[in-house]
Amino acid sequence: MSLQNEPIIVAKDLTISYELHRERKKLTALQDINLDVKAGEFVVLVGPSGCGKTSFTNAISGLVPKESGSVTVRGEEVTGPGPDRAMVFQDYALLPWRTVESNVRMPFEFQDLGISESEKNKRVKECLDLVDLTGFEKSFPYELSGGMKQRVGIARALTTHPDILLADEPFAGIDAMTREAMQAEMERIVMETGQTCVFITHSIDEAILLGDRVAVISYRPGKIKEIVEVGFPRPRMSNSEVKTSREYAKLRDHIWKLVKDEASQTNRGE
């Protein structure tokens, strides 16, 4: 791709705030965020809960209006959702009355991408195949385990071939063992598709294993505390040397120290 190394998402002095209903007060969720994401890059945001990480992906997806500053995708200001951005949700957000296949097909119903019916079928099939769900097309979400549900969520996000994949703590509700499998799956998908991804997590290990860069967000208001480059070659999940290396431990410790001060503030604040 010629766009390689060109920033695809540019956030400039991005500030997002919410109004508190009971008191006439405004809560700043994110303050003066400056972050560029290059095409094909995997950027992970780590921070304590309530620090506004979710607001950042919501601002990129266009779900949440910004207070000041700007977010641009391929040079265009984000004003609302668009087919170039797709999202994976923490609670899967699958329509329970639809089959797996129908859920994955959902994005095609809402937006006209100028794709033929056969191409749509092909893409649905491809994406289900990519997340290893072939054979479950006719199952309903309530019949599936958490990990499988989230794979449906990932397949749904990829059907439209979005430029940017946003993931908001996608594996937070999934048990530890499945979670590792899902991380490996995510890495494989990103390596296969070259997908640009903005990923939010609480887990430092998940951040290091998946991210090209890890942005540590501070607690209320959320600011970028530091952006850490992760240099390990991929695939990292299947390579046991990565997790046991000294470098990994050092990186983990570094990020942990950055997060720790913030996390202790969370405890004080609540």
């Binding site: 997806s61 266009g62 779900l63 959702p81 668009g82 087919p83 951005r85 797709a86 999202m87 949700f89 923490q90 609670d91 957000a93 699958l94 329509l95 329970p96 009355w97 959902m106 994005p107 119903e109 809402f110 937006q111 072939t134 054979g135 479950f136 199952s139 309903f140 979400p141 309530y142 019949e143 749904r156 439209t160």
Partner: protein, 293 residues
Amino acid sequence: MSTKANKNAQVFETDDPNRIQDIGWTFREVWRRSRGFVVTSLNITIFFILWELVTIYGNINSLFLPRASDMFAELWTGLTTRAPEGAVFSGSILDHFLHSFNNLMVGLAIACAIGIPGGLLMGGNKYIESILSPYVWALASLPRIALVPLFILFLGFTTTMQVTIIVISAVFPIMINAWAGVKTTEKSLLAAAKVFGANRRQLYIKVVLPYTLPFIISGIQQGIGRGLIGVVIAELFGGSNGLGYLIQRSADTFNTAMTFAVLLLLIIMSLSLINFTRWLEAYVAPWRNTNHV
């Protein structure tokens, strides 16, 4: 055998066929599954036998408690005979049942036609909601029976009056449930649909409506219960046909077996209708049930 039944276990197309074995039926398993039905049937049968015995040997005035067999006989003849052409009063349970059932269905249909769109509009538009909600809550909280004299005054002792009372009884549970369904649509489903490009119309048609459907059905279920109360009240107060009227009439003429037969019929009718809507709810929204099995 050390296997244990698990309601959540399922077979998928991708399963290794060797994982699935035919374990056959044992007497114990057949009993375990049919036990509920057998016990309930026996329970009810014993209840009626005891009733019969008490009324035979208990020296009880049949004016107050008829024999169970008399009640069933009355129910059977009542359901298998019709009044002759041109009769002023029908003693046939079937005639009155059809009148009541017809009224109930018409009333429910009108209640749905008002309640479902009304509830959806209230859930979807905050202006409509704020204008209508005080009236909805006021009428919903008013004991409906208090309105009966007023409707008799307006409409006389007519079928229209009876149907109106059924509608007034049934419409609010349906409306309030539809309203609540729209209001409680999961935020993440809405966010997902928005992210994938749904406009407002699509949000309502593809997310909010299907999400609300099981709510509407449970509203109808409650509406059936309330509607039946409406049927009986309307016919007790005014009118010369229907099951409510027949209860009144048979009690007045000391035909207690008939009174009990009608009560039994009302129980059967109500349970059948409510079970039907339960089944319908489970059918259209299976995900809701598995969550709390």
